[in-house]
Structure formats: structure tokens, C-alpha cells
């Protein structure tokens, strides 16, 4: 079975002894703790950043600079009473929070946060698992994330949560397509599904790697589409119609209290961190970056610390962008949200995948790359123009469809 688990050198010998088991267990525990602590710090950092942007102070009482505020909130929620509405479906109501948080954590398992390192004398990748079908795993897990939201709203047995969860499901399903096509834009170039291979294709050689090796520039359109779709998938502003408190009381989690509410809250912010990590892996080279030049390449600082540092820096930069957007953009209207997803993102993403595939074929067949690029982009623009003209404008919509 070892070949299934990974291309990780840890399993190459085919023999899984106690020490290998221990290495895997340690990696799982560390990843879990890392994710929880980073959620705690992200919520604190988000509140501080937004407070700065709005000229407020933000949390400043619990611990130095208010850094323990999230921990205090979590402890408070843990000791609160958990109520279940009388009309609720009790089993599904209890199950929903866990269905929400499990995919968020499982998705993080395939993210490479470092290169190849040596733990207890075993060579291994610094990621929980390197599945050969890694990119498919991202799609599968983000598909499973819908269940928690949808079942929570239904199982609550009251109107507002149900409305919130129907909204959420519609939004998640609509943006799933654009999200997948954004990832596909990279996969066409990378030619592999394994996250470790995608990252090692974007390795750091010199400063030119930033524009030539990392996929954010060669796949710029998928990068933008991925960021928009991932924001919608995680229900973050400006796409947070799911919990529009003016309209829905609180959304799908209205009836939840105590630790179950905390788990939903945790899952939501964990998803943001995981999606930033996925974007870092696919588009920003994951852990690749310049090492410390004055030390040898095999030095522990260069194999352990620097990749993790670069990975963390890129994730924090992306998280800052989400907070920035959160602080500056108003919530979208529902019909605009659907129009953006279905009429623009999906079309642009499909056309980009076709163009990228044409370029790949041109590379393999030794065609003139520039002519191919020109023809591919020309046909794509033509196809998009026809599609755009085919969409009825709001003032042209016939009365019977209103």
C-alpha cells in the first residue's frame, strides 16, 4: 500500500516500522497544532489590521497587544451552554460542525510547508502527505466542505438558518466550477497533480525565478480567478451573503451556541488559511525562496528554517490581502454574485485553459510559439465576444423571463 500514500522518500523502502509511524504521527500532530495556532493568530491579526484601517485600537486587553483575545473567546465559548432547538434533527445537528471542520483540516495535509528534511534519521517531505493526486484532493475536500453548511441550516429546523444554508450552497456550487478551472489553469502547465512536484517546478534559482518559475505570472488569469473563487468558497467578504446579519439574523449558524458555534467559526477561518496555503503552493512557489547565502545549502537553517519562513511569509501576505478586501469592499448583491461567477469567471477560465493547452501543444510539437499564442488569444477573444453578445443585457430581458 505504500506507493499509494506517497512519493515521499519516507515510504520508498516499503517497510513501515515503528519509527516511520512515529514520524508520520508527529507530522500530523504538528500540522494540526500549527493550523489551530495560526487560526488564533489570524483572527487576532485580522481584528488588529481592520482596527488600524478604521482608525480604532482593536483588541488590546488579553495578553500583550491583545494577542490572547481569540483564546479567551474560545475558552468562553467552550464553557457556554449548548442548546439544541426542539424542532432540530438532533443527530445531523450535532454532526454538522464536524463535517465543516474536517475538510478544512484534511485539505491542509497535502500542503508542502518545506522541502526535504531529515527527521530521526528518516528523509521525508515537510508535509503530512504527498498524494500523487494532490490537486484532485483539493477539489474533493472543498466539495465536501459544502455539507457542514448545508446540513447545519437544514438540521436547525427553523427558517433563517435554512435560507442561509440554501444561499450558501448555491454560492459554493456556483463558484466550485470557477475554482476548479482556476486550478486546472496551473495543472495544464505543471503536468502533474502532486503538490510536491508542482512546488519543486517553481524552485528558486535566482531572482528571475520570481517571474519565470513561479506560476503567478505565467498563469496570471487563473491566479486572479482562483483568488476570487476561493474568497467566495470561504464565504469571506465581499461574498459573505451567507451570514448577512441584516437579512438572515446570522445565517446557517443562527441556532448554534457554545463549542459547536466555535467549531463553525474555527472552520471558516481555517478555510481562509488553507486556501491561502493552496494559492501559495500553486501560484507562489510554496516554500521556495532564496536561502541564506553565507551558509552551505545542506545546513539545517537552509533546509528547515528558510523554506518554512518563505512559506509563512507568502501565506501571511495573502491573508493580509483578504483582510484588506474585507475592510474595504461592501457586500455584493446576490444576483451580481451569481452573474460574476456564471457569466464571467467560468467563461474566462475555460478560455484560458484552452489557450494554455494550445501553448503546451505548440511547445511539444515545435510550432511557432508566438503565432500559436496570437491565434489562441485571438480565437479566445472572439469566442468571448460572441458569448458576451449572447448574454441578454438587463434592459433586453424579455418580459416572460422576469
Amino acid at each position: 500500500m505504500s506507493h499509494l500514500l506517497a512519493l515521499d522518500p519516507l515510504f520508498q523502502s516499503g517497510h513501515v516500522g515503528f519509527s516511520v509511524f512515529l514520524v508520520v504521527a508527529v507530522k500530523v500532530l504538528v500540522a494540526f497544532a500549527l493550523l489551530l495556532v495560526s487560526v488564533m493568530l489570524y483572527i487576532w491579526g485580522m481584528r488588529k489590521w481592520i482596527a488600524d484601517m478604521q482608525n480604532r485600537i482593536g483588541p488590546n486587553t488579553a495578553g500583550p497587544w491583545g494577542i490572547l483575545q481569540t483564546l479567551a473567546d474560545g475558552i468562553k465559548l467552550f464553557f457556554k451552554e449548548q442548546s439544541i432547538p426542539d424542532s432540530a434533527d438532533r443527530v445531523v445537528f450535532r454532526l454538522a460542525p464536524y463535517l465543516s471542520i474536517m475538510p478544512a483540516f484534511l485539505l491542509f495535509c497535502i500542503i508542502p510547508i518545506g522541502g526535504q528534511v531529515s527527521i530521526f534519521g528518516h528523509q521525508t517531505f515537510l508535509q503530512v502527505a504527498d498524494l500523487p493526486i494532490g490537486a484532485l484532493w483539493i477539489l474533493a475536500m472543498s466539495g465536501l466542505g459544502v455539507y457542514g453548511v448545508m446540513l447545519a441550516g437544514w438540521a436547525s429546523g427553523s427558517k433563517y438558518p435554512l435560507l442561509g444554508s440554501v444561499r450558501a450552497t448555491g454560492q459554493l456550487l456556483s463558484y466550485e466550477a470557477a475554482f476548479s478551472l482556476g486550478i486546472l489553469g496551473v495543472l495544464v502547465r505543471a503536468g502533474t497533480l502532486s503538490t510536491h512536484d508542482i512546488v519543486s517546478q517553481q524552485r528558486w534559482v535566482n531572482w528571475h525565478s520570481f517571474v519565470s518559475q513561479w506560476y503567478w505570472l505565467p498563469a496570471f488569469v487563473p491566479f486572479v480567478i482562483f483568488l476570487i473563487a476561493a474568497t467566495a468558497e470561504t464565504n469571506h467578504p465581499p461574498f459573505d451573503l451567507v451570514e448577512a446579519e441584516q437579512e438572515l439574523v446570522g445565517g446557517f449558524n443562527t441556532e448554534y451556541t457554545g463549542i459547536r458555534f466555535a467549531i463553525f467559526f474555527l472552520a471558516e477561518f481555517m478555510n481562509v488559511i488553507t486556501m491561502s496555503a493552496v494559492a501559495t503552493t500553486l501560484f507562489l512557489g510554496g516554500p521556495s525562496g532564496p536561502g541564506l547565502g553565507f551558509l552551505s545549502a545542506g545546513n539545517a537553517l537552509n533546509t528547515w528554517l528558510m523554506p518554512v519562513f518563505w512559506f509563512g511569509l507568502k501565506v501571511i501576505a495573502l491573508l493580509f490581502v483578504t483582510v484588506w478586501v474585507r475592510a474595504s469592499m461592501p457586500r455584493m448583491r446576490y444576483d451580481r454574485l451569481m452573474a460574476l461567477g456564471w457569466k464571467y469567471l467560468i467563461e474566462i477560465a475555460i478560455l484560458w485553459v484552452l489557450v494554455a493547452a494550445a501553448i503546451e501543444v505548440a511547445n511539444v510539437q515545435n510550432w511557432n510559439v508566438w503565432a500559436t499564442v496570437l491565434i489562441a488569444f485571438g480565437s479566445a477573444a472572439l469566442a468571448y465576444g460572441v458569448l458576451y453578445l449572447a448574454i441578454p443585457k438587463p434592459d433586453e430581458v424579455v418580459e416572460e423571463f422576469r
Partner: protein, 163 residues
């Protein structure tokens, strides 16, 4: 191989129990959730055979899209909270006979087709091999299935529009 056989037995038992749950329950949403367990069990069986690509496509397409659309449709239309007695009827025995007959036909068909063939699960089929098979060897059946699905989609639109 013993570990695989034990895992197969446990998964198969869980799938059978969940499949009975699908037809036994009076709550539509619970039926859909039991169906999720059955399909997840199927995906796990594919992993036991070393076919990880098929397994995760099963999760992605059936659990992540088809059942989600079922549930979405249920919630958009009625969102029933309580068991619905009309989901049950008196045709239990004919249904059981039909199910056994179908199991016999499919089982004998599979045994007839594959009874000497052994899958070497130490050499799992990589994604590249699957895509080569789909897009080179079986490209015409693949395209035909695509057209069939499109026809089904158009047919559904025609049936659903009332004008």
C-alpha cells in the same frame, strides 16, 4: 493480502447497512446521507484496489456534486424536517425479490467476465495511464457519453419548462 480482505469485509458490511438505510428511512435527507456513506465505501474499495484516481473522482463527482445537488434540490423545494410516511409502501417483498434478481444477474455477469483475471494491486495505475486510456484508446466512447449527457440535460430543460 489478509489486511485488504478484512478491510474489504468491514467496508462491504458498512455499505450494505447504509444501503438498507437508504431504502428503509422515511426522511429524504437521511436517505441522501446514507447514500453518501455507500458512495464513500465504494471510493474506499477503489483505494483498496490501488485505484486512487477513480476513488477520488468518485468522492469529487458523486459525494461532492451529485448528492449535494440532491440535497440542494430537496431544500429548495420542500425542505421536509419530519419523516414522510408516503415514502414507504407495501411493495417490500417484490422489491426484495427484484433486488436479489439484479444482484444475481450483475454478480454472474462480473464472475463470467473476470473470474480468472487478477488485478496486481502492487502496481497501481497512475493518473497518466488513466487519462491516456480515456483520451486515446477510448476517446470515441468518451465523447459519445459526453453527447449523451448533453442530450439528457437539454431533455431535462425541455421537460421542466412549462410554456
Amino acid at each position: 493480502m489478509i489486511a485488504q480482505n478484512v478491510a474489504f469485509g468491514i467496508l462491504a458490511a458498512a455499505m450494505v447497512v447504509a444501503a438498507l438505510g437508504v431504502v428503509r428511512t422515511n426522511n429524504v435527507v437521511h436517505a441522501a446521507l446514507y447514500l453518501v456513506v455507500v458512495l464513500a465505501g465504494g471510493a474506499a474499495q477503489f483505494i483498496l484496489l490501488g485505484q486512487e484516481f477513480v476513488a477520488w473522482v468518485q468522492v469529487l463527482v458523486y459525494i461532492g456534486a451529485v448528492i449535494v445537488l440532491f440535497l440542494f434540490g430537496i431544500m429548495l423545494t420542500r425542505a421536509p424536517m419530519h419523516p414522510d410516511e408516503s415514502l414507504d409502501n407495501d411493495l417490500k417483498w417484490p422489491a426484495a425479490v427484484t433486488a436479489l434478481f439484479l444482484a444475481g444477474v450483475l454478480g454472474s455477469l462480473l464472475i463470467d467476465a473476470f473470474h480468472r483475471t487478477k488485478i496486481d494491486i502492487r502496481q497501481p495505475i497512475r493518473t497518466a495511464a488513466v487519462t491516456n486510456a480515456v483520451f486515446r484508446t477510448y476517446i470515441i466512447p468518451f465523447e459519445v457519453v459526453g453527447v449523451l449527457l448533453l442530450a439528457a440535460l437539454v431533455g431535462a430543460v425541455v421537460l421542466a419548462r412549462k410554456d
